[in-house]
């Protein structure tokens, strides 16, 4: 109740409340940023670009897949298995909404 009334009077608080928790986590945000920029990336590319461990990356990719934000495509390249990840339309929309929210927070803070 208090949070709702605060959100009504404070635009920053309102924007903060609308933040998508799935996207907000740092590793998941980095994964989504990489996929939005490059369209697709395999596991190894993401691991190198983000500097995270296999296990950590795997956990966050699974969470993004479960949210419907990322899709995995498994294939064999030169007889070696490769999993390539792409961002879904829902994922792109969530990313844009998150980005817009961050920008609104920063702009509102600058305006004082």
């Amino acid at each position: 109740m208090m949070a709702t009334s605060m959100a009504l009077t404070n635009p920053i608080a309102a924007t903060i409340e609308s933040i998508d928790e799935v996207v907000h986590q740092k590793v998941r945000l980095s994964i989504m940023s990489a996929l939005v920029a490059a369209d697709d990336a395999d596991f190894r590319t993401l691991k190198t670009a983000l500097g995270v461990t296999d296990g950590n990356l795997s956990i966050h990719l699974t969470k993004l897949e479960e949210a419907g934000y990322v899709e995995a495509r498994k294939e064999f390249v030169q007889k070696k298995p490769r999993t390539t990840y792409t961002i879904t339309d829902a994922g792109r929309a969530a990313f844009v909404a998150y980005l817009t929210a961050l920008e609104q927070i920063v702009v509102a803070a600058k305006k004082g």
């Binding site: 928790e21 990489a34 697709d40 670009a49």
Partner: protein, 206 residues
């Protein structure tokens, strides 16, 4: 659920925006011109300028035989394209990506109208005997193509594109024809070399 707390939320928002920018930048780095490729392409262009001067043999380059002139620059274009392809392929392999990617396809889609328009205008200029305007037009169309690619790549690529557009406009409007080839050396040679050095030294992307 409140996952950001003020005032830390404002600082975190700024930090996350920075993280997004940096990650996107890293993820598209393989798609931009590498440092060595920039240096080599600049060197090919300067070689092209020297070859054009040699072939002109004292006559103004604008009065050269168009086939000779176009042959020199077609070689420069092919060498540059091969250099870019080879270095991009090498980099794409090192980061586990294919050179033919959806991102690469979008870049090609963005750039081809400018390259094709440049080609058509080149043919028209040659047929009308107006070789003096070719240099500025090449800079202009190349700049537009690179600016279009820059929309999908790192910021220096957009800056490189803008530099070519400005150089092309200056060449077409202000430069006397006798200085056009010098501007080719400055733009296609110098800009690529500066880009290559900057990419290599500042970004560590040789």
């Amino acid at each position: 659920m409140q996952i950001l707390e003020q005032p830390n939320g404002i600082q975190e928002a700024a930090e996350n925006l920075k993280l997004i920018r940096e990650t996107m930048d890293r993820s598209t780095r393989h798609s931009s011109l590498s440092g060595v490729a920039g240096l080599l392409i600049g060197a090919w262009a300067i070689t092209g300028v020297v070859a054009t001067f040699q072939l002109a043999n004292g006559t103004p380059p604008g009065q050269m035989h168009p086939v000779r002139l176009l042959a020199v620059w077609a070689v420069v274009l092919v060498l540059s394209a091969l250099t870019d392809f080879a270095f991009n392929k090498r980099r794409a392999i090192t980061v586990g990506k294919r050179i033919v990617s959806p991102l690469g396809a979008r870049m090609l889609q963005a750039a081809w109208p400018s390259f094709f328009s440049g080609f058509v205008v080149t043919i028209l200029m040659v047929l009308s005997g107006n070789l003096d305007s070719l240099w500025g037009i090449w800079m202009l169309f190349y700049g537009i193509a690179i600016s279009s690619v820059g929309l999908f790549s790192v910021r220096p690529v957009s800056i490189l594109g803008a530099a070519f557009v400005i150089a092309g406009a200056l060449t077409l409007i202000f430069l006397p024809p006798v200085l056009n080839l010098c501007m080719m050396a400055v733009s296609f040679g110098g800009f690529h070399i500066v880009y290559g050095l900057w990419t290599g030294i500042v970004r560590g992307d040789w």
